[in-house]
């Protein structure tokens, strides 16, 4: 399918309810749809093979356009994306909910319920997601009239509004501070004996208001550095994704050499992130040898990053129109020698892991989620590829220099945690391969485009970057005053975490850390929320007191 055939199909089926495409979004299909028919059109897009990405809500009242909501869909096989936009009048910001059909839209809608005060009739779980439970109603931080630093007075001891435990189960709280979670997040796990029967999540505790901050305080060229600090692991991913979306919206051309250097940084980040995850996974199943080994192998990569960019994590490489530092021939040699060493070490690590029966026993069949379910929940990244969903933004929607590079996309069909281990291990070798090609093929030339006077306002840009955890989506609407009107960040954990309750279902409670860990959760990226599987239908076997006694006896 192409963009034209899709447009024709939609026009034929929905007639005047679909208008556009809007020329404000160069190279993308941005369609305006009638508000009442939104769920119908979204359903049709999914039936045509689209994957739901995320929604972008915006406050356009200053321009007399009321509130806007854009839903993004990707057609991975055909390599294009579609955005459908609806708007609602300022007095009644009401949009029909698409969550009953597309469960993964649940968080998006709850997010805008909190931040923009939208209402979604028909949403199955209209609860707070982003803002704290003591945040007063009626203050919506993303609305234009609310200053970025407005802090309403806090109230102490406000309980989380969790779902009721399904009958016959007991709630085990995990978090907000828990040794298996490296970031604050609260999981209420409903167990029947040792078996998990459901889970509710209250997270978004590291929500720092970055989108609002960047839409009101800083300028285009400063945002890449703030974007880098969204996440301490995939900093380059966010900076590159932001820069690419602004470049697309404004039509800025980036020098080819800069694009190759961006790829180099992205792949370097993937290697260190996957080794980091491998170590953490080993730690979560109580196998600290893997942790120590993986992080020992990873350390030379960090030193290399420091030699290339001057810092171990926050690289400060990407700016609009290119990158800030060049790769000299000496640095290229240095990269090659480190790659050689890391590749040899990871080969050893891989052989050890593939033969280790303990890791097999702790990961095989754990966190099982069939392919159909994974597609329904729009999983991305290694979590999806471990469930034989063959998607990778680097190949399906090539950006930067990926169209010139050849690499494989490893997949697994075991649909469990073991598959994610395998996929990530194999991806390290692919990254090494890509980096070698980058060093060979990198053309000479400038690394930064000439600066522009001013970027055009109210143009739309979308960028997808394959982060180590999956696809990161950035959506930018350019604005006046040298800063974006709207900047939406969707990290891969945002979608993957919504599928976690399904992965946990019917697993042992002892496997909870590794199942949550298997998506490589990054709450600081996500900081956004949840779904619960309810109702076990099973009869209650033990009462609470007995369970307590049993669990205590087991703990001794």
């Amino acid at each position: 399918m192409t963009q034209e055939t899709l447009l024709q199909t939609l026009r034929a089926e929905f007639g005047a309810a679909v208008t556009g495409p809007d020329p404000a979004a160069p190279r993308r299909l941005l369609l305006d749809v009638e508000r009442a028919r939104l769920p119908e059109i979204a359903r049709r897009l999914i039936a045509l093979g689209a994957r739901y990405q995320v929604g972008v809500g915006s406050d356009d009242r200053a321009r007399g356009l009321g509130f806007g909501l854009i839903h993004l869909f990707a057609f991975d096989k055909s390599g294009f994306t579609t955005a459908i936009r609806t708007s609602a009048p300022a007095e009644t910001p009401e949009f029909p909910s698409i969550t009953p059909d597309i469960p993964v839209a649940g968080w998006t809608e709850r997010e805008y319920r909190d931040l923009l005060g939208f209402r979604f009739p028909g949403h199955p779980k209209p609860k707070k997601l982003i803002l704290a439970d003591d945040w007063p109603d009626g203050i919506y931080p993303l609305r234009k009239e609310v200053p970025y630093n407005l802090v309403p007075p806090a109230a102490e001891d406000v309980a989380y509004q969790l779902d009721e435990a399904p009958p016959g189960t007991t709630m085990v709280p995990v978090g907000p501070f828990h040794s298996s979670l490296h970031e604050p997040a609260h999981f209420a796990v409903y167990v029947d004996g040792e078996t998990i029967k459901g889970c509710d999540y209250r997270g978004f505790m590291t929500h720092r208001g970055i989108e609002k901050l960047c839409q009101t305080q800083v300028s285009y060229n400063e945002i890449p550095f703030v974007a880098e600090r969204i996440c301490g692991i995939c900093g380059s991913v966010h900076a590159t994704a932001y820069a690419q979306s602004v470049e697309e919206a404004a039509g800025l051309a980036v020098p080819r050499r800069a694009e190759f250097i961006r790829v180099l940084m992205l792949e370097l980040e993937r290697i260190h992130s996957h080794l980091l995850w491998l170590g953490v996974a080993g730690h979560l199943i109580g196998f600290d040898t893997v942790f120590m080994h993986a992080w020992r192998v990873r350390e030379p990569v960090m030193w290399l990053s420091e030699r290339i960019t001057g810092n171990r994590k926050t690289y400060g490489m990407v700016v609009l129109g290119g990158v800030r530092r060049d790769i000299s021939p000496e640095t290229a040699e240095d990269i090659r020698s480190v790659l050689k060493k890391v590749e040899a070490e990871v080969l050893g690590l891989k052989a050890a892991i593939l033969k280790d029966s303990l890791i097999h026993k702790r990961t095989k069949g754990v966190g099982h989620m069939p392919k159909a379910e994974a597609e329904r929940w729009s999983l991305v990244g290694p979590v999806a590829r471990a469930r034989s969903i063959d998607i990778d933004a680097r190949r399906d929607h090539p950006y930067a220099a990926y169209n010139e590079l050849s690499f494989d996309v490893p997949t697994a069909d075991s649909c469990d945690v073991w598959g994610t281990v395998l996929v990530r291990l194999l991806e390290v070798f692919e990254s090494v391969k890509i980096m070698r090609q980058v060093l060979d093929k990198m053309p000479a030339g400038p690394i930064l485009a000439a600066p522009q006077e001013a970027l055009p306002a109210f143009r739309h840009g979308l960028s997808m970057v394959e982060a180590p955890r999956g696809e990161s989506v950035h959506y930018v609407i350019t604005g006046e005053e040298n800063r974006p009107e709207r900047w939406r960040v969707r990290a891969p954990t945002y979608t993957n975490l919504q599928g976690v309750p399904r992965m946990l279902l019917d697993n042992q409670f002892a496997d909870f850390p590794i199942i949550v860990g298997s998506i490589d959760p990054c709450y600081s990226c996500t900081d956004r929320a949840v779904v619960v599987e309810r109702g076990t239908g099973r009869e209650r076997v033990w009462d609470r007191a007995e369970l307590t006694t049993l669990s205590r006896a087991g703990g001794k």
Partner: protein, 176 residues
């Protein structure tokens, strides 16, 4: 003074609890990194523990966000006295670049009595090791006090700059 107290209070091993109050993972990973073979913090008897009830010191990373503010306080209360608090990274020191946004209460000092700050974005593992070792009195402070001298009256300097610029402008006009 604090270093002496710490040396007395924690003569042998120090068990630390890592508390993420809203960090971006950068500092958290560097904290985990000091446990790994290249840095190996355990040779100083320092161990990372999973519960604040077992800990002597807290490593706080990240700006304290609105939802975590009461939680951080409760984790601190759960620690047995005497206790130390380290702020790791720019966000824990002063709140970072989002110190005043709607969901952030500020740096670590808004929630807890901080004892030591280890700045950096993120601080290197060596810096974390050095900071903790300094607190325990294992190493000496490297910074020396800076003596400030009155150099030149600033007005004088600005007048001279002005005069130089005027002269330069004349040469430029002559050239044109």
């Amino acid at each position: 003074m604090l270093a002496k107290l710490a040396k007395k209070a924690f003569p042998k091993s120090l068990w630390v609890y890592h508390c993420n109050s809203g960090a971006c993972n950068g500092c958290d990973i560097e904290i985990l990194n000091v446990l790994t073979p290249y840095y190996d913090v355990e040779r100083f008897g320092i161990k990372l523990v999973g519960s604040p009830r077992h800990a002597d010191a807290m490593l706080l990373s990240g700006a304290v966000t609105r939802p975590t503010l009461p939680l951080v306080k409760r984790a601190f209360e759960a620690m047995p006295a005497p206790k130390l608090v380290f702020g790791i990274g720019s966000c824990a020191v002063g709140g970072g670049c989002w110190f005043d946004t709607y969901n952030v209460s500020g740096g670590g000092a808004t929630a807890l009595p901080m004892d030591y700050y280890i700045p950096g974005c993120p601080p290197r593992p060596e810096a974390i090791l050095f900071g903790v070792a300094l607190a325990l009195g294992l190493v000496d402070q490297k910074a020396a006090p800076v003596e400030l001298k009155q150099v030149e009256f600033p007005l004088d300097a600005s007048l001279r700059t002005q005069a130089w610029q005027d002269r330069n402008a004349i040469y430029k006009w002559l050239k044109d």
